[in-house]
């Protein structure tokens, strides 16, 4: 019993470390990818003892900069809520990784350790609950700043996030119907089966519309461009206008961690998670029936690498969308959520149900 707790804690530390490093790495990716897309070079000047390393030290420089900035709390602000708001934001964003598996399992002799921090049989609902709790961080930040404009920004942000929770949740009901489970580990297991004899039964092949709606609603629920009206990037007053230093850094980190959450969830549900095509826990099982055995450590490595590569590709795609699209006006974003995304997700459920009934 205690061993299970210790194992879970160690896994939690590893997952946290991986996610925070990945989020910091994403700041570098954002700068470099946007630069390469825009025919320029990007940030490449931060160096340690003369070694520049294509600007990979810039996230460290940014972190140091934020730590050394003045920690300012407005005079009439609610001090407790002001300090707690970024903590709430980051805490729930990081908690969402508790039920997302990075691999199948690792066999240490007689002990089989699942590469998932917590195996809850409503794991998917847990992730959505954590995403919904983000709204508290936003509203707390806007209210505690004691600034009318930042409060309006918080209202905008919370209304946007709430509105897009619906298509987000409804888009995965099709996935539920196909895989008959709410536990993300089981959903990924079932994506290892083959469709028509040769195609892996990934979510994107059985639920293409669900994938598109999920990505769009996920972008909106995490306030990423093109839905970043609440944040606006210096065009409009956002909910964190009174924050400086590391508190602001935590909000920015939350933004990137949420991007990773959406990417990880989309790979788990639609792109097969840690599934390498045709790789089972014993080796490669090709469509013809040929079995090519692979040693267990290599299977684990392949699974973890496959998950990371898929998450990275999706993050790249989300960054590409961010630097291509102009942002929506607020009423356009709300209209899109309620009058287009939500009916589309409902139609997806109807069509999926009809097709499944017709097949069986």
């Amino acid at each position: 019993m205690l061993v299970n707790v210790v194992v879970a804690m160690v896994e939690a530390v590893i997952v946290l470390g991986f996610v925070m490093t990945f989020a910091g790495f994403l700041t570098w990716v954002e700068r470099k990818q946007s630069a390469v897309m825009q025919d320029r070079i990007g940030a490449n000047r931060a160096d340690i003892f003369g070694i520049r390393l294509i600007g990979l030290f810039h996230p460290i420089a940014d972190g140091l900069k934020m730590l050394t900035k003045e920690d300012f709390i407005p005079a009439k602000a609610d001090r407790a809520l002001f300090v707690i708001a970024p903590v709430v934001s980051l805490f729930f964003a990081l908690c969402a990784f508790a039920t997302i598996p990075f691999g199948d399992f690792v066999q240490f002799g007689p002990r089989q350790i699942p590469l998932q921090v917590a195996k809850v049989n409503i794991g998917l609902l847990f992730v959505f609950a954590m995403i919904s709790m983000e709204i508290y961080g936003v509203v707390l930040a806007g209210w505690a700043s004691r600034n009318n404009y930042s409060f309006l920004g918080a209202l905008r942000a919370s209304a946007l996030m709430l509105s897009y929770e619906l298509p987000l949740g409804a888009a995965i009901i099709g996935v539920l119907m196909v895989y008959h489970s709410l536990e993300i580990g089981e959903i990924i297991q079932r994506q290892g089966e083959l469709l028509f004899g040769f195609l892996p039964k990934w979510g994107i092949f059985v639920q293409p519309l669900g994938f598109v709606v999920f990505l769009a609603a996920g972008l909106a629920a995490t306030k990423r461009v093109p839905f970043d009206t609440p944040e606006g990037e210096s065009e409009i007053i956002g909910y964190f206008v009174e924050y400086s230093g590391m508190k602001f850094g935590m909000f920015m980190l939350t933004d990137l961690v949420e991007t990773v959450v959406i990417a990880a969830l989309a790979t788990s549900l639609f792109l097969g998670g840690w599934q390498f095509p045709y790789l089972t826990s014993h080796g490669f099982l090709l469509p013809g029936g040929a079995l090519s055995p692979v040693a267990h450590p290599w299977v684990v490595v392949l699974q973890i690498v496959s998950f990371t590569v898929k998450v990275a590709l999706l993050c790249w795609f989300l960054m590409l969308l961010r630097w291509t699209l102009p942002r929506f006006r607020y009423d356009q974003a709300m209209r899109l959520g309620w009058l287009f995304m939500f009916p589309l997700s409902l139609i997806n459920i109807l069509v999926s149900g009809a097709v499944m009934t017709w097949i069986s």
């Binding site: 390469v36 025919d39 590409l320």
Partner: protein, 174 residues
């Protein structure tokens, strides 16, 4: 009469236009990425990977007629060509040239500047002094654009030695 823009059905579907736009930026991304990676091995042939000029290692190419830092030209014997006629001081719209004249024993020239001060904090780099000078004594062709100082006093180039900067092109009319 303002005509409302009409959108075709393909435009209003939003996603085809979105994908077309994303395709353009993705194309730029992959093209530039391959150029960056290949640029590590051998220099680029046709198109550059980025349009960035890495200052201060590289500089933007300047036009030869760009009005940059001033210099006073010299005669063959090293004395300044300036005869302290005050034409540049009079025409300067920013009133940044201060000349004090003294006598030159040579009867061909009669005057020479005792002190020639240009306050670069006031100068607007219009080039009127260059056009007004009858002796071709002042030019703005040094191509020096970096003369920042740490105080306003340091921006007042008040020694003629500071004004006798090496020219970029050789002085053909000597």
């Amino acid at each position: 009469m303002i005509r409302k823009p009409t959108y075709s059905e393909l435009d209003r579907a939003y996603f085809p236009g979105l994908l077309a736009g994303t395709w353009v930026t993705a194309r730029h991304f992959f093209a530039n990425l391959t150029r960056h990676v290949l640029g590590l091995v051998y220099p680029p042939a046709r198109r550059r990977a980025s349009v960035t000029i890495q200052y201060p290692e590289q500089h933007r190419p300047l036009s030869p007629r760009l009005r940059t830092l001033h210099r006073l030209t010299k005669r063959a014997d090293g004395s300044p060509r300036c005869v302290a006629c005050m034409m540049c001081e009079t025409v300067c719209p920013a009133l940044c040239i201060y000349i004090v004249a003294k006598e030159k024993p040579d009867p061909d020239f009669e005057k020479q500047p005792e002190s020639f001060i240009i306050d670069l904090g006031r100068c607007v780099f219009c080039g009127f002094c260059v056009e007004a000078c009858p002796e071709d004594a002042i030019r703005m062709d040094t191509a020096i654009l970096e003369f920042s100082a740490l105080s306003r006093e340091d921006l007042v180039f008040n020694m003629e030695q500071l004004l006798r900067l090496e020219p970029v092109e050789t002085d053909t009319a000597s």
